[in-house]
C-alpha cells in the first residue's frame, strides 16, 4: 500500500539523525530555549508582582506555550532557504516529489524533534500544575501544531521574497518584528487594547503564538477555539500565497539569471 506521508516521515527521520548526532547537542538544543525564555519569565513576573522572585501563574503558562511554539529554529531555516535561493540550489527541492513548504517544515521538525517532545511535555505539565481544565490540556498538542505550521509559513513566505530582492531580504530583522508582533517579547495581554483590536487581530503573527498563549494562560475555551480557527485560516491562506510566490518568484529569478 502506498503511504503518501512516507516521504515526509523519511525527511523528518533524516533531519533528526543529522540534528541529533550526539546526546550533548540534543541536550543543548533543549537548554538554550529554556535559558532564553527564563529571562522573560523572570522579567514579567517581577513587573507584574509586588514580591520579587515570585513566578506568576499567567506569565509561566504564557511563556511555556511561547517556548514550545518557537522551538523550531525559524531563523536558521529561513537563512538556509535564503542561501539555497541565492545559490540556485532551491531547484533541487523543486525537482523533488515533495511540496517545498512541507519539505522545509519536516526538516525543521526532524532537527528539533526531541526538544519539541520534551517542551510539549513540560508545557502540559505546567497546564496540569496550574489546574487548567482537561479540555484545554487535550487541545494543547493540536493547537501547538497549528502554531508551528503558521510560524513556519510566515517565515517561509517572507523568505521567498529573496526571489525578488535577494540578500536584501533581512532574516534577522524580520525575526525581531515577528517576535514582537507574535507576542514573544511582550505578552499580548499587556499590549494596549487598541493596538490589539485595530492592528494585530488582522495580521497572522499573533495567531502564531501570543493569542493562543493568552487563551491558555487565562483559560477560555471559546477564545481558544476562535483563535485556532483564525490561525487555521491563515495557514491555508499562506500555503496558497507561498505556492504562488514559489512558482512566480522562481520563474522571475530564472529569467533574470
Amino acid at each position: 500500500m502506498k503511504v503518501p506521508a512516507k516521504k515526509y516521515i523519511y525527511i523528518i527521520k533524516n533531519s533528526f539523525l543529522e540534528g541529533n548526532q550526539s546526546f550533548f547537542s540534543t541536550l543543548l538544543s533543549l537548554v538554550y530555549p529554556l535559558i532564553e525564555i527564563s529571562g522573560l519569565v523572570f522579567l514579567y513576573s517581577y513587573i507584574t508582582s509586588d514580591d520579587s522572585g515570585f513566578l506568576t501563574r499567567g506569565v509561566v503558562i504564557y511563556f511555556s506555550f511561547i517556548l514550545v511554539t518557537t522551538t523550531l529554529d525559524y531563523r536558521r531555516f529561513a537563512s538556509k532557504l535564503q542561501s539555497m535561493i541565492v545559490d540556485e540550489r532551491y531547484i533541487n527541492i523543486d525537482q523533488m516529489p515533495v511540496h517545498p513548504f512541507f519539505y522545509t517544515f519536516c526538516e525543521s521538525i526532524g532537527r528539533s524533534f526531541v526538544t519539541l517532545m520534551l517542551l510539549i511535555t513540560i508545557g502540559i505539565g505546567v497546564l496540569l500544575f496550574y489546574g487548567t481544565p482537561v479540555i484545554g490540556v487535550m487541545l494543547y498538542i493540536p493547537v501547538v501544531l497549528i502554531c508551528l505550521l503558521l510560524s513556519h509559513l510566515i517565515y517561509y513566505n517572507y523568505t521567498l521574497l529573496t526571489f525578488y530582492a535577494e540578500k536584501h531580504v533581512k532574516i534577522w530583522f524580520f525575526g525581531i518584528i515577528f517576535d514582537f508582533l507574535s507576542g514573544k517579547l511582550v505578552p499580548l495581554g499587556f499590549l494596549p487594547m487598541i493596538l490589539q483590536k485595530v492592528f494585530l487581530s488582522f495580521m497572522p503573527f499573533v495567531y502564531a503564538a501570543g493569542a493562543l498563549g493568552n487563551a491558555f494562560s487565562d483559560f477560555n475555551l471559546r477564545t481558544l477555539l476562535t483563535s485556532s480557527a483564525i490561525a487555521l485560516f491563515w495557514v491555508l491562506l499562506l500555503i496558497f500565497t507561498g505556492n504562488r510566490i514559489w512558482a512566480h518568484g522562481g520563474r522571475v529569478f530564472q529569467e533574470r539569471g
Binding site: S25, V31, Y32, L43, T48, A165, H168, F173, L185, V186
Partner: protein, 258 residues
C-alpha cells in the same frame, strides 16, 4: 599603518556602495534601524504601562539611557565581524585574509559594514544624548556611564572572541553562537534584581553577561560602589588577556598545521 587605513577606507566605501545599489536596499537600510529601535522603545514603554514603577528607582528616562547604552556597546563590540572571522578560520579561509593588505586585527573590526548598522549606531548615540538630557542624572553619572561603555565594549568584544575561539577549537561554531544568543536574551536589558540571587551571582562571576548587559542599571541609580567597578575592571582585564592568548594560540596552531 597608512596602508591599513587606506584598505579600510576602500572596504568601507565598497560596502556603502553595495548597500546603496538599488532602491529596495536603501529602503531596507532605513526601515531596519527604525523598526528595530521602535520595538525596543515600545517594549520599554509597556513595562512602565504595566506597572508605573516596575523596577527599583528607575524612571522611564533612565531606562531609555540604559537601553541606548546597551545598544551602543553591542554595536561597537562588532559581534558580526568576530563571528565572521571565526567562521573563516574554521573553514580555512584565513589564508585569503592573510594575503590582504590589512591587519587581521583591523579587518576583524571593519569586515562587514552596512548602512543599516551605521544608521542604527547613530540613532542610539543620538538617543543616548536625548535620554540623558531628560533623565536628570548628574555629570558624574554621565562620566561613569561613558567609562562603563568603554570597558564594556572591550569586555564584550573579548568575551565574544573567546567564545568563538572555543568554537574554533571544538570545530563547532553554531553551538557557541546559540549559547551566546541565549545568554544575551537572558540578560539583555534586565535589571539585576529581577534574577534570583544564585542566578545573579552566576551571571556576574561565572559568565559576565550580566556585567555587560545589566550593570548600567546600577550606575544610573548611583549604586555603583567600589566592588562594582572592581568586578567590571577585573573582568575586562581577565577577558582581554584570555582573548589575546587564545587567538595567538589559534593562529599559531593554524599556521603550523595549515
Amino acid at each position: 599603518m597608512f596602508r591599513n587605513f587606506r584598505a579600510i577606507h576602500i572596504l568601507f566605501r565598497s560596502y556603502i556602495k553595495r548597500d546603496a545599489s538599488n532602491a529596495f536596499s536603501i529602503f531596507m537600510a532605513l526601515l531596519t534601524p527604525l523598526a528595530y529601535s521602535a520595538i525596543f522603545l515600545t517594549q520599554t514603554y509597556l513595562y512602565f504601562q504595566i506597572n508605573s514603577v516596575p523596577f527599583e528607582d528607575i524612571t522611564i528616562e533612565k531606562f531609555y539611557v540604559c537601553l541606548c547604552t546597551n545598544q551602543v556597546i553591542i554595536f561597537l563590540a562588532f559581534d558580526q565581524n568576530i563571528r565572521a572571522l571565526a567562521r573563516d578560520t574554521l573553514s580555512s579561509d584565513v589564508d585569503i585574509l592573510l594575503m590582504r593588505p590589512v591587519s587581521l586585527f583591523l579587518y576583524k573590526y571593519f569586515r562587514v559594514i552596512s548602512i543599516d548598522r551605521v544608521i542604527m549606531l547613530a540613532l542610539y548615540v543620538l538617543g543616548f544624548a536625548v535620554a540623558l538630557a531628560f533623565a536628570d542624572v548628574g555629570a558624574d553619572v554621565i562620566t561613569r556611564l561613558l567609562l562603563f561603555i568603554a570597558l564594556a565594549i572591550i569586555l564584550l568584544n573579548s568575551v565574544l572572541s573567546i567564545m568563538y575561539g572555543f568554537g574554533i577549537l571544538f570545530r563547532d561554531n553554531d553551538k557557541v553562537i546559540r549559547l551566546k544568543e541565549s545568554l544575551t536574551d537572558l540578560t539583555q536589558l534586565k535589571p539585576p534584581e529581577i534574577f534570583p540571587f544564585a542566578l545573579r551571582t552566576g551571571l556576574t562571576f561565572v559568565v559576565p553577561f550580566l556585567v555587560m548587559y545589566g550593570f548600567m542599571f546600577d550606575i544610573v541609580r548611583n549604586r555603583d560602589g567600589e566592588t562594582f567597578w572592581a568586578i567590571v575592571a577585573g573582568w575586562t582585564i581577565v577577558a582581554s588577556l584570555l582573548n589575546y592568548y587564545m587567538w595567538r594560540k589559534i593562529f599559531q596552531r593554524y599556521e603550523s598545521t595549515g
